[in-house]
Amino acid sequence: MSDNKENHQGLDPEVVEKLRQQSSELTESINSGNHARAMSVINDLSEVRDQSLYREVGRLTRSLHEAIRNFQIDPRSAEQKEALSKMSDASDRLAYVVQMTGQAANRTMDLVEESMPVAHTMRDEASALHEEWQRLRRREMAPAEFRELYGRIDRFLAALTTDSDMLYNNLSEILLAQDFQDLTGQVIQKVTALVKEMEENLLGLVVMASHVDQLTGTVHQLDEREESAEQGVGPQIKAQEREDVVSGQDDVDDLLSSLGF
């Protein structure tokens, strides 16, 4: 029977054998005019179908329980109820990632926003002093102005030391703020493993359910679900491998200019 396995994938070989025997018996009975016999064969056939169906539903139910146990969301005992399910644990973990990355981004931006004006002031004062210095070198400076410059350079050099210290400290704090990557990376890997495990369990269930579908002769009409892009679909993964997605700003610019932008 393995030669036409594709036609009755999932059905028990004995069921298939019974189907085959009884269908030829049915044809014979009808051809020979024995209609009573034919009706009784049809009865037998539907009995075979019902029994297999019950068996498959039983298997499906067991698999479902198994899967639910694997997901640890079966709240049968108080102990299990107390323990966090893997699912809600996964959401908590991802919420933690969002929180950690948000914190790191804000901490980094705080430090950058604190450092930028310092760098700006340093640059402005250095450039102003440089101009004055050039005037001094060209001997265009009056003694009173020189005394003023003398003090200004002194103050600048002192400020330069404290400001560079501050910039250095901010930079090393920015460096430290990136330590979230280690923690979030571990968390995401754990959640990815859970998603994979769930996918496998669900796939097992789908296969089980398809056996029931075959016995009942159910054909599902699954509408292709078109993802509406109107509300936004978020960042595209593997953009380079896809035709319908731009791979960067240059692509966007090309597309827009082809539209007459």
Partner: protein, 123 residues
């Protein structure tokens, strides 16, 4: 020049706000989705709108359409800064009347170039 920045993530709003400040635009306000942004735009006399696409509540695309459908706002320049990268979406945004489209992740130079280009065209 008064600019409204619309993004559901405060970090992204902060990045854009900082980049705009570096470009000399210091008068900026923030909103976290289209539903908050639209009343602000209607009452606030903004000169420029920078918006994300994917946001809970009202999306940036719906905000763009609402702006273009509003007689008082229809000429407001709109720059989209978004992770949405499908060609269909970019075409749809262009057809809805967006003035510029920047995909995330982006650089300060790209943002600067697009903003300058939009202002060039207006002036």
């Amino acid at each position: 020049m008064k600019i409204l920045i619309v993004d559901d993530f405060s970090t992204m709003r902060r990045i854009i706000k900082n980049l705009l400040r570096d470009l000399g635009f210091t008068n900026t306000d923030e909103a976290d989705d289209g539903n908050t942004a639209l009343p602000m735009l209607r009452s606030g006399k903004y000169d420029f709108l920078v918006t994300d696409w994917n946001m809970p509540g009202m999306s940036g695309f719906d905000l763009l359409k609402a702006v273009r459908a509003d007689d008082n706002l229809k000429n407001l320049p709109v720059l989209m800064v978004t992770a949405e990268a499908k060609r269909d979406q970019i075409v749809a945004a262009a057809q809805a009347g967006v003035n510029g489209y920047v995909v995330k992740p982006f650089t300060a130079a790209v943002l600067k170039e697009k903003i300058e280009k939009i202002f060039e065209r207006i002036q």
